[in-house]
């Protein structure tokens, strides 16, 4: 670049101006590089989430996630097996943003490698806990629910610190809370396996705490009771519709455009 200067400019003044411009451009380029890296991280994370639930005979499944930032700390995943059974996982890493997203990636990868039919899920959870505890900062942990549904409606699960999924059936509402502590804080921990049964027409709603902790301006929370009422009222609808209703309701309740925490919901209905 060539330019001409009028009389009166001092050498130091010109140098100062040019340095200021150079620094500003440098910052701008660095910020753009960071944003680009973050967008790539978001793409990697999106690629880990299932595009759509696998077709499973006898069940309808719908899931959705809204991250609070460009990358999120929630996860959900499906694991179809050969014999018509399938697994479903919902989890929430402490914090949000990039550090939480990295922990989510570790857990999604670990579960996909570890989950196999007939393999005791307690063993997978214990191993996952050991690996996550060793590989993370002590401030990080992840709560995780994993359940395996059989074609006859039997549901085996472990709930490691997640808000208990809600099972709506003719008999009432059951909260699936059996399991253990969230994954990561302790070097060794045991997990109990819970059992439930999904009758024909019953509904299972899995969610992360971002949903029930969503606040309105008065400081009231969306809460578990509101979720129960909404799900009960629309129990006859398809999971896709129920999912949209839950997110719409939470959005309207908060009345602010931004979500303060990552929110994930998975709705499963037994149809046959």
């Amino acid at each position: 670049m060539v330019f001409e200067l009028d009389h009166g400019w001092e050498h130091e003044e010109i140098e100062f101006c040019l340095n200021t411009v150079r620094t500003a451009i440098g910052y701008r380029l660095a910020a753009e590089r960071f944003q680009s890296d973050l967008r790539q991280a978001a793409q990697i994370q999106l690629s880990l989430l299932p595009d759509s639930p696998p077709p499973i005979a006898g069940y309808q499944v719908a899931g959705k996630q809204i991250p609070a930032e460009l990358v999120g700390g929630d996860l959900y995943d499906y694991y179809p097996f050969d014999d018509g059974c399938f697994g479903v996982a919902v989890g929430d890493a402490s914090g949000h943003g990039l550090p939480a997203a990295l922990l989510v990636r570790d857990v999604v990868t670990g579960l996909r490698m570890g989950i196999e039919k007939e393999l005791k899920i307690q063993h997978v959870f214990r191993k996952l806990n050991r690996v996550i505890h060793r590989s993370n900062l002590s401030t990080r942990f992840i709560s995780l629910f994993y359940g395996e549904l059989e074609s006859n409606g039997n549901l085996f699960y472990i709930n490691a610190g997640q808000p208990p999924p809600l099972l709506f059936s003719e008999g009432g509402i059951q909260e699936l809370g059996v399991g253990g502590i969230a994954i990561g804080p302790l070097p060794e921990t045991d997990f109990k396996r819970g059992f439930a049964h999904m009758d024909h027409g019953s509904l299972l709603v899995l969610y992360t705490d971002g949903l029930i902790e969503r606040e309105n301006r008065a400081g009231d929370r969306f809460g578990i009771q509101r979720l129960k009422k909404l799900s009960l009222k629309h129990r006859g609808d398809d999971p896709d519709q129920i999912l949209d209703l839950i997110f719409d309701s939470a959005q309207k309740f908060g009345k602010v455009a931004k979500w303060e925490d990552d929110i994930t919901v998975v709705v499963i209905k037994r149809t046959l």
Binding site: D92, A93, T139, S143, A160, G161, P163, G179, D209
Partner: protein, 114 residues
């Protein structure tokens, strides 16, 4: 988030005020605990009575503090846990890791007994 420190014998009481939702103010709590360990103080009570809300990042920092203190031969105990915070501790089952007390005085006394 404001942190006020009191000493009772060899126990440090950290009185937190505000919200623990992540970010620099949350990290300040862990840094404060690390500072105490560097000064040789390994028994810490965190008083949450004036904390309106803490999320998973907040719990994470308390866990980090607990781990650092236990590694140094001490412990971290919680006091003034509100019903809402306790419900989150129950849900995540982190209640099995933290010792909780109604008041900071009881938490301090437990160090003397224990």
């Amino acid at each position: 988030m404001k942190i006020k420190e009191e000493m009772k014998s060899d126990v440090a009481i950290l009185i937190l005020r505000g919200e623990l939702r992540g970010g620099p103010e949350t990290t300040a709590v862990h840094d404060h605990i690390k500072g105490l360990i560097a000064d040789g103080v390994t028994k810490v009570v965190v008083d949450l009575a004036k904390v309106k809300w803490l999320n998973s990042s907040g719990f994470g920092v308390l866990l980090g503090g607990l781990t650092s203190l236990r590694n140094a031969g001490g412990d971290l105990k919680l006091a003034g846990v509100t019903e809402r915070v306790e419900s989150l501790l129950m849900m995540t089952k982190l209640i099995s890791i933290f010792e909780t007390f109604e008041t900071k005085d009881r938490a301090v006394a437990s160090f003397v007994k224990g």
